[in-house]
């Protein structure tokens, strides 16, 4: 069942797992949301420039200077696992 729908590969891309119990509910919600979008496909948007952000009127540049806003040790305090001031994860190379 899971392989025949679009939700499963999307979930894999998003690094989310969908349990067997919740699968039909997730699929139904996903499809009802996409149904909401159908009205957009009927709008004639020929020649209209996309609006990515209301702030896209100008590009903001600044001098590329090096500064420390937060000390490394403070940032590391929220690390779920660390060793010698580095984040640690399960072994990735055997």
């Amino acid at each position: 069942m899971a392989a025949s729908t679009d939700v499963t590969p999307i979930a894999a891309l998003a690094k989310l797992a969908i349990s067997d119990q919740s699968f039909s509910q997730v699929k139904e919600n996903f499809e009802s949301t996409l149904k909401l979008f159908e009205e957009l496909t009927r709008v004639d948007t020929n020649g209209i420039e996309p609006l990515v952000s209301p702030g896209d009127r100008h590009q903001v540049l600044r001098v590329d200077t090096d500064e420390t806003l937060v000390e490394r040790a403070e940032l590391m305090q929220n690390a779920p696992a660390q060793e010698e001031n580095y984040f640690t994860v399960p072994r990735v190379i055997d």
Binding site: T33, F37, R62, N78, A81
Partner: protein, 492 residues
Amino acid sequence: MSDIDLRACSLHELRESLENKQISSVELTQFFVDRIKLLDPQLNSVITPTMDLALKQAKQADQRIAHGDDSALLGIPILHKDIFCTEGVKTTCASKMLADFVSPYDATVVSALAKSGAITLGKTNMDEFAMGSSNETSHFGAVKNPWDLSRVPGGSSGGSASAVAAGLAPCATGTDTGGSIRQPAALCGITGLKPSYGRVSRYGMIAFASSMDQAGPMAKSAADCAQLLSAMAGHDPLDSTSAKLAVPDYATEIERPVAGLRIGVPQEFFDKQLSPAVADAIHTALRQLEAMGATLVDVKLPSTPLGVSTYYVIAPAEASANLARYDGVRFGYRCEAPQNLEDLYVRSRTEGFGEEVKRRILVGTFTLSAASYDQYFMKAQQVRRMIANEYDEVLANVDVIAGPSAPNTAFPLNDASKSITDMYMEDVFTVGCNLAGLPAMSIPAGIVEGLPVGMQLIGRSFDEATVLRVGHQFQLQTDWHRQVSRIAEFAS
């Protein structure tokens, strides 16, 4: 102190009382600390109270006042939505993912308000990662509406709205990506302003949809919001999208009368989705503005019905990218005993995010995927341009646009009859301003069956001054903003 009703005071009145030594900041802060302790168990509006920090800051404020410091908000307590990073204090975004996250720095909004002398009372509950219109998606449980505890306060800034409406704080911060300040302000009977995109820095405000997220004030009146916005607004080099524009003197601007202003009334805001009782209340409020000398003008925003679908393509797309950072590696929730890196990513995210957040990440991942990018994401960006153009055209001929903030008054908690997409339709009148980046405010404008109604005022880009002015002048002539919930009446 005993003859001042601290729950009813405006920020200006509180400042005067502090200045005249009728009350100290410690006493004022203690008053609201006690109210939170006493009343919040019924509301669940505060996730993390910061009582000790607040009383420490209040003592410092009293010393500054004694030394003649007259900073605009000196000694006044405020609650911050738990989406703003606060140094040394938990910042959870109402998610299991960040339940134990302690920010190493302050958001610019928080530091700016602290610089003006505001006292941090605590962090308010919200929909998880600001995704919701009922405050029911919080990992820390739903927030209750102080007007009726069986109803929602709206969302996502539901904790801030509920707390201010219950008199647990004189004011609060909120954020608004699709209506998250205005809709809860409407449902809780308070005043809430979403500034123009770029008016207030987003630095340290946890990202949801970066092209629409904006911070703003929530308080009892437009005058209070003006005072708060003055402290929050302005360019911040730490946010490249913050505008390099001078911040007007809002306190002066709002004193100008509305006579001669042209107020656009879009017919699309009064369609079948709007409850007839809310429509009546808004029409009465519009007639009040007319009686004050403003001219009502019928205007058209024909793409209004497309706003919700456009928003629900764009916001989840941006959210799916923003929330990719929560991978269990550097900060936030990590699953127990991961078998390998993939397992760490997948289980941390699956266990750390709630259902609504995952739903939106899935939708956003889909609309950004190569096969559907043009069909949905690009298309939505084009419709976004159409919507923004319509607002610009209308606002070239009127000074503000007025209409309802939400289609209904507060609805019941756990309303099983409301589908996911029904919930999304709550935002039908608010999302347009986020898509177009415009300033908009909700002000109390009536009561229907014991529940408040909000009127929305929408202004030209970066013209918060006129929006606040219309709101303030309306509030000088009406007392809807002085109506309080039953819980707010409860004396400490």
